[in-house]
């Protein structure tokens, strides 16, 4: 029972967390865009969920003012060894959703122009293969409590 209540509360927290950093690009909704604290000059990562109510599309680029370059990356772990690779895009199936999350797909921010602190917000522009493009707000989540893996 208390577990059920916990789930309901967690769901409510998630809904409120999603409310601000969200956007719509064509048929694709971008939800819960977040990042971690990171020092100026270092690298960062941006995560979000893409929900597609339209036809199949593919995320092909990301850009933001806070970093020298942004790339689409995927972390994969095999035999306990984590490896990051630069990928050309992420397919977003028709009517499907894709979550960018730690240990998986992420937008890698290379060479941060400024420090990212918990509570900061910055914008990121996402471009899809269809040509659709849009800007969403990314929220920097503090390290306490740690975001879900």
């Amino acid at each position: 029972m208390s577990r059920l209540l916990g789930l309901v509360v967690a769901g409510m927290v998630m809904i409120t967390a999603c409310a601000t950093p969200a956007g719509q690009v064509g048929g694709i909704r971008i939800e819960n865009a977040w990042s971690r604290p990171a020092a100026a000059g270092s690298n960062g990562a941006v995560y979000f969920t893409l929900r597609n109510s339209g036809g199949a599309d593919r995320l092909v680029a990301a850009s933001t003012d806070v970093a020298r370059a942004s790339e689409i990356h995927k972390t994969s772990t095999e035999g306990g060894v984590a490896r990051m690779t630069h990928v050309t895009g992420i397919d977003v199936p028709a009517g499907g959703s894709i979550e960018l999350k730690p240990g998986s797909y992420h937008i890698m921010l290379i060479g941060l122009n400024r420090e990212l602190r918990g509570g900061d917000k910055f914008s990121i522009t996402l471009t899809f293969q269809s040509g659709a493009s849009g800007t969403v707000t990314v929220e920097v989540k503090g390290n306490d409590p740690p975001p879900a893996y």
Partner: protein, 202 residues
């Protein structure tokens, strides 16, 4: 008569209290399932001596008496390393005073790029007590081989330069200097804290 009733009520209450206490002890002493990868034979952790971010030489054996969490990573890693470090910090915080003498050691697998001051401020984001160790390329090769840790430069884009593939485990070493278990980035801080209590008796 009244006194007799009172006595029996009192003894019933005492009996109930004793039973409750016994059940509580049973519940807390029953071994909890462990999430970490347990090492079947707790082998002594091989000693090493490496420079920390302050230029001091740190020897693993000099930390005997403290539980040590030994992890490998690099500061330009934005995805997996922060997950590990933030969870180790959280697990340590959850243990409160029992986690106080827990020492986290972070060995960089990217000594070519990771300067001491960068490693220091990187770790301070998670817990200023985390100790960063910066091996020479030769020392890294040796310590990685000893602990069966894999690291490998991966070519990246022009912007990113190379990235490092590396073993994402954290070795948990007990106060007697034996490797007892491995933590993985998928584990939650709660699971880490619970395993440290169950296996290391924190």
């Amino acid at each position: 008569m009244k006194r007799l009733v009172l006595l029996s009520v009192a003894s019933t209450l005492i009996f109930a209290a004793v039973v409750t206490a016994a059940v509580a002890v049973m519940l807390t002493t029953r071994p909890k399932p462990v999430t970490a990868s347990l090492m079947a034979n707790a082998l002594p952790a091989a000693d090493f001596s490496l420079r920390d971010t302050e230029g001091r030489s740190v020897t693993l054996s000099s930390l005997r008496g403290k539980p040590v969490l030994l992890t490998f990573g690099y500061t330009s890693c934005p995805d997996v390393c922060p997950v590990t470090l933030v969870k180790l910090a959280q697990a340590k915080a959850q243990l409160g005073p029992r986690g106080k003498d827990l020492q986290v050691l972070f060995i960089t697998v990217d000594p070519d790029r990771d300067r001491p001051d960068v490693v220091r401020s990187y770790l301070a984001q998670y817990d200023p007590a985390f100790l960063g160790l910066i091996p020479t390329p030769e020392e890294l090769e040796e310590v990685a081989k000893t602990y069966h840790v894999v690291y490998e430069k991966q070519p990246g884009s022009e912007a990113a330069g190379y990235t490092m593939a590396h073993t994402a485990a954290t070795l948990v070493i007990d106060r007697e200097g034996r490797v007892r278990m491995l933590f993985w980035p998928e584990m939650s801080p709660d699971e880490m804290a619970s395993d440290l209590q169950t296996v290391l008796g924190l």
